[in-house]
Amino acid sequence: MAMTQTSQQPMVRIEGLRKSFGNLEVLRDINLDVMPGQVVTIIGPSGSGKSTLLRCINLLETPDAGHVWFHDADLAAEHVDVNRLREKIGMVFQGFNLFNNMNVLDNCTLAPVTLKKMKKDEAEQVAMGHLEAVGLASFAHANVSNLSGGQKQRVAIARALCMQPDLMLFDEPTSALDPEIVGEVLEVMRGLARDGMTMVVVTHEMQFAKTVSDRVVFMDQGVIAEEGTPAEIFGAPKHARTREFLFRYLDD
């Protein structure tokens, strides 16, 4: 579906992004465009800077240099109102990070009520819709600690969707889950992709990257080593490092 939209302006444009932690250079001159409606998956070995790149897109990590354009605003600029921009960028974490002091429904309504000045019952109605979509409407009043990992992650997705974001970021959303329940989370993500949500996904689920994404980005040692369509990356990787990485993954 992204192929038809290439004439449009990119939703996210990353230019010359650099980030170091102390002496360790995690991101070295990253350039990446994400078109509206595109699903971009970022793959690569651990420590290659995938998560840091993702966290730079909503400024959970502050870039050292470069630009992160979201629509028309540069997130990396000084004194930019990141809070307003983050409202339009949903994020799903590896560790779920549901608010432990609230039940499922309150997790979902907190941001809309606080930031969009929605009425409580109106926000709850919206939240119930999203919980319904992830199949957890009956858990609306459950305590967060009583949910399984897969349920937690689905609530986290619903929570992010309640802000009606333009872009969703997924930071290894299935890495903390049992293999058996990875599927239920991936199913929700597939549904989102079908509905045309713009997504950037850091993942180790190669099957997901292969079947759902419009573009695959392979990162290695802080740079984008190779990018292309799933067919290009998985079918005929050009870079030796990509081949080596994929060989190890697709072997088993």
Partner: protein, 401 residues
């Protein structure tokens, strides 16, 4: 927590430590109870107080004495048997046969009961008779320490009660006010500069955090006794600059008020550190998740991080009340009429330092034990565990998930 009832249903009903020792864990029937029997015999050899009821039943006490002695002999035999048959004691000893073991177990309850009777007869009754003598005495009985202490307590009761009430007031009001001040201060302490902040906000955030840091260092780095003097005499000096007379100043800036201010300001610093520890132990992912939704730092703190952090801080915070009960004693240095001041006053009247100190020891201990029991019950509502009688505010926070 909604999970509480289900987990409670599954877990076996918990007994108290004493009850479980008596009912389940009575492994040391012979050896353990022989210590109890020895205590009973020791009490029996003490002179009878005036109100002793066993004085009228001499044969009963004699029988009890010999039964206790018999138990000791039996325990000694069992011990020797155990030492000689160390490897196969369980198989060879007659004491471990189920029927014998059961009889021994019931016999041990009898030993406990007899000792208990002796405790009542000797200890409780001697206090009672000493009390009855002391209440009617016209001058302090000098030959019996217990009577003397009862006399001091009875005749100094007005002073003790005043001191007791003041100590409770200081500790309770001080802790409650300090909690709210500590909340304010910890807000200042943990704020960090955020990207959208302009220079004005950045300055105030840094100034607030700096103030809280300095405050905590100064207050926690100096003894409360010195703080009390600085606050009392410092503010007194300020009042002197006005046209008020010394009597008028004493009416406004009382030693109680000065003590309350001292204990509040002191406790604020410690409670702030406890709260900070609790807040910092909240998973940073909670903050990140809130920020990723677009909440500002302050909104994320208020709605997500603080509620969890305060819950984690409850054990440390409730310790602070117990600490304040004890530490308010140093306020007597500026003349605050607390329990410590009452103790020195009464001790001065009767020239009995040790006996009076012993009385106030008992009162302080009862007070702190009661406070920590109460706080433990309170904390259970929040699913957190409070350690009994904590020592300092700096003990790390323990949280049960």
């Amino acid at each position: 927590m909604s999970s509480a009832p289900t987990s409670e249903q599954r877990a076996p009903r918990r007994r108290g430590r004493v009850a479980s020792f008596v009912l389940d864990d009575h492994r040391y029937v012979l050896l353990g109870t022989s210590a109890v029997a020895a205590v009973g015999m020791l009490l029996s050899s003490q002179p009878r107080p005036a109100m002793s009821f066993l004085a009228n039943a001499f044969t009963v006490e004699l029988a009890m004495y010999y039964l206790l002695a018999a138990w000791l002999v039996l325990a000694a035999v069992a011990l020797i048997f155990k030492l000689t048959h160390w490897k196969n004691y369980d198989e060879t000893a007659p004491f471990t046969k189920p029927a014998v073991a059961r009889v021994l177990r019931y016999a041990s309850y009898v030993v406990w009961a007899m000792t208990l009777v002796l405790v009542v007869d000797r200890v409780v009754m001697s206090v009672a008779s000493a009390w009855s003598v002391a209440v009617t005495a016209t001058s302090r009985p000098t030959d019996d320490m217990l009577e003397s202490m009862c006399y001091i307590l009875w005749n100094g009761r007005q002073t003790f009660i005043t001191g007791f009430v003041t100590t409770v007031e200081l500790a309770v009001i001080g802790t409650v006010v300090a909690f709210f001040l500590a909340l304010l201060l910890v807000f200042c302490r943990i704020q960090t500069v955020d990207r959208p902040d302009n220079d004005f906000i950045r300055f105030w955030k840094k100034a607030g955090a700096g103030f809280a840091k300095v405050y905590s260092t100064v207050v926690r780095g100096t003894p409360m006794m010195v703080q009390a003097m600085v606050i009392y005499f410092g503010v007194f000096g300020l009042f002197r600059m006005t046209s008020l007379s010394t009597t008028q100043i004493n009416g406004i800036w009382t030693t109680f008020l000065a003590g309350l201010v001292t204990i509040t300001l002191n406790s604020t610093a410690y409670m702030m550190e406890v709260l900070r520890g609790g807040i910092e132990s909240v998973d940073p992912g909670q903050m990140e998740a809130a920020r990723s939704l677009g909440l500002s730092q302050w909104q994320a703190m208020r709605k997500v991080v603080f509620p969890q952090g305060i819950k984690y801080s409850i054990p440390g915070l409730s310790n602070e009340l117990v600490i304040n009960i004890k530490d308010s004693s140093v306020l007597s240095v500026i003349g605050t009429f607390d329990l410590m001041f009452a103790t020195t006053t009464v001790a001065g009247i009767y020239y009995q330092q040790f006996q009076t100190a012993l009385i106030s020891t008992a009162v302080y201990l009862c007070l702190t034990m009661f406070a920590s029991w109460l706080l433990g019950r309170f904390a259970r509502h929040f699913d957190v565990k409070v350690e009994a009688l904590g020592s300092t505010s700096d003990t790390p926070v323990k949280v049960e998930e």
